[in-house]
Symmetry: C2
Subunit: 440 residues, 2 copies
């Protein structure tokens, strides 16, 4: 993509009302534009990151054997009355009357909607377990939206739902999501800690939050530091194998959010040298709630004895739009964002410092086209701006590798390769650039 063809409205100054780094940087880097309180438009650079995250989440759900569906944003109030949550949910739920006066709502979550789909279509234990997910915009009418998309009102969430015959198989589905979440966050370049958590308005008797460490997080978290040293999930993990050993290796180590914290427990279960208390950002949350929705909504199947039984359910959320902010919170410096390779909007930023020099343009066009042809996403800064403006813009938007072409490129046949993360710079012959980048 050439910058002259790209809609990238970067700002020189941080907007006054942005409090935390990710909010400031997303506005400055032209990733977002505010529509109203807690509601944003995603501009091209931001949308690219959002989609990269969405696709990684999707790939891992598919790998775990979860079927993708897409439920609507607007739900009928009736099903929420059936489950008993319509009155419970309070003012965070955006309630709507349509032109016929029917009560509707903008879904904050989808337990009722998916249970309705299930009960209309599944009849027998032979079709279980059934795992469904969707990636859709949700709305929670926060009293005080803040921190940009980290605590917005309209947000993108992946929510999955499991339907099982009994408690034991339901636990196996829970473990599947537990492990797939660890793997998903690893791929996003994040170390997420699973924490025993309260279940809140979703309900149920087992729940884990996945939290990443961050000074700007809203939750206090307490954990056994050794949880950070557990080995990564195998890239080729078989989700139909028994995953309980992996899950237990995490659950055996103390880690809780503040709503479950007890000082006595912490001191008792964690040797002093491993006790850790920090702030964290919640990026995922999983629940097992047995028959809380299936009983009132009559989501039943016939078991192998021909008896009608309510299914055991769980739900599993990942905050996709929030993750964009969470990744920036954990990866930036005073000059801007530093994207992990897996979610960077472009792999390479190519800067031409001499856009009026015919030979420099020729060199850059060649590098640009050759890298593009190899399938590398490249943003080519071909704008007529000062070197200072170009350098600071490219640092701000945080692409992992910069290729800098200036007057020395024409003279010596070299370009500079700059790593955004370390700031390291090396000189490379122009003829070697494509191979160098391809083999990274």
């Amino acid at each position: 993509m050439k910058l002259t063809d790209y809609f990238l409205p970067v700002l020189k100054e941080s907007p006054a009302d942005a409090e935390i780094a990710s909010h400031k940087l997303m506005l400055r880097a032209g990733m977002l534009s505010q529509s109203s309180s807690g509601i944003y438009s995603w501009l091209p650079l931001g949308l690219r990151v959002l989609k990269k995250i969405e696709n990684i989440v999707r790939e891992e759900q598919d790998a775990a054997g979860v079927n993708e569906i897409l439920m609507p944003t607007i739900q009928p109030a009736d099903i929420w009355k059936e489950s008993g949550r319509y009155d419970d949910y309070g003012k965070e739920m955006l309630r709507i009357k349509d032109r016929q006066g029917r009560e509707m709502l903008f879904g904050p979550t989808n337990e009722e909607q998916v249970t309705d789909i299930f009960r209309r279509t599944v009849r027998s234990y032979k079709e279980l377990p059934s795992l469904l997910y969707h990636i859709q915009w949700k709305f929670r009418d926060e009293l005080r939206p803040r921190f940009g998309i980290m605590r917005g009102r309209e947000f993108l969430m992946k929510d999955a739902y499991s339907f099982d015959l009994d408690k034991e198989s339901s636990r196996a589905s829970y473990n599947k999501f537990f492990v797939s979440y660890l793997k998903t966050f690893e791929r996003l370049g994040l170390k997420a800690i699973p924490m025993a958590a309260d279940t809140g308005p979703i309900g149920g008797d087992m729940s884990h939050e996945f939290v990443i460490i961050s000074d700007t997080g809203e939750s206090d978290i307490y954990f056994d530091n050794r949880i950070l040293n557990l080995t990564n999930i195998d890239e080729n993990i078989q989700y139909n194998s028994d995953l309980s050993t992996i899950v237990e290796s995490y659950q055996d180590l103390y880690s809780v959010a503040d709503d479950k914290f007890s000082e006595d427990d912490f001191n008792l279960k964690v040797p002093e040298e491993f006790r850790k208390h920090t702030k964290g950002i919640e990026v995922g949350h999983i629940f097992n709630f047995a028959t809380k929705y299936s009983e009132p909504m009559k989501a039943n199947v016939l078991n192998s004895n021909g008896k009608t039984v309510p299914v055991h359910m769980g739900s599993y959320g990942i905050g996709i739009s929030r993750l964009v902010g969470a990744i920036i919170e954990s990866s930036h410096d005073e000059n801007g964002i530093i994207w992990p390779n897996s979610v960077t909007p472009f792999d390479i930023g190519l800067i031409n410092l001499k856009i009026k020099d015919f030979d420099a343009v020729k060199i850059c066009e060649k590098i640009y086209l050759e890298l593009k042809d190899t399938g590398i996403d490249i943003l080519y800064d071909n704008k007529d701006d000062s070197p200072g403006a170009k350098f600071s813009r490219m640092d701000l938007i945080g692409l992992p590798i910069q290729i800098i072409c200036g007057k020395n490129s024409v003279k010596d046949g070299t370009v500079e390769i700059k790593y955004r993360n370390s700031g390291d710079v090396k000189l490379i012959n122009i003829s070697d650039v494509v191979n160098f980048i391809k083999n990274k």
Copy 2:
């Protein structure tokens, strides 16, 4: 994908309230589940088609140099009051009050929202033309939703917007979308006819609907039959070249929807042998409305003389969810759907008629894995059902090619290849199957 792992709740009977073929078939083929009047959940098979269409639309927008953004579903009423449309829009607009009592709405279209983004970020004629699109769920509170997703309330639309310095360059942007729409619909396997149209609540002085011929369409269309013989758009068309010759070749031939129809004009401009009057389904609509929004909303830029001028705008919609229905309307038979190759949910359906026969299972597993490895999307019916149930289910869901493996496969080493479109069947040696399919 193995059918035992896939959520595909097909129905034997058509639901009583479905009136047209696409609605019946989408429900029967397990593509959709109704949530409330005019609102649907997309099940895995339906979602695959929706995404294929979405991606083709996206690729063609990208090819035409349009930048993708994503605006929220919930908009503030303020910007609609600025443009003057808040009162005009009537009951089709879903109006909402949030917990603070602020007036909001679920966007039925995005002229105001995108104009607001533009005026916050763009200052100079040097940044024009600026072309933006997004693919997002919209809501129109139809009085009588019907025909399933063809006339639903929550629907997926691609809407694009152009910002130009003056009328002439704005016309060039209009032509760009005109041509890219013809190409997009061609790729979807549809012959869409551009028709001079009224502008309705969007406004402006130039507008074309893109309509496909269908007996179940809601519009009467009148056109010169020779428009169907115009040559296809070049696959490698350069969108920055002058496209007016192509656009004029269409506009020179009479074609209008009923709101613009005049019997006298039709008779005068079209020789009798070429006069055609049919029903049609609108799948796209483009508008040029000059400064209708930019003037009241003060979306101005500085021109080359340093003078502040309002930008000239256009908007360009494609009904993505509606296209799923429109394609089925134009491609089905009494047994079910017949997908065009470009949007089929899977390329191949593999039927094992002998799932208890060890050798038949071995043959099918081998074909399944080998085809999957070559990147072909394959649905493997490994369920324990009767041959009749398997045949009718596979015909119903409409995959272009079926591979049928039965007792002869084990005996003779052959499988049947059945083409869903023609019904033709041919025998192929098992060892040739993968090459045969790959080279199709």
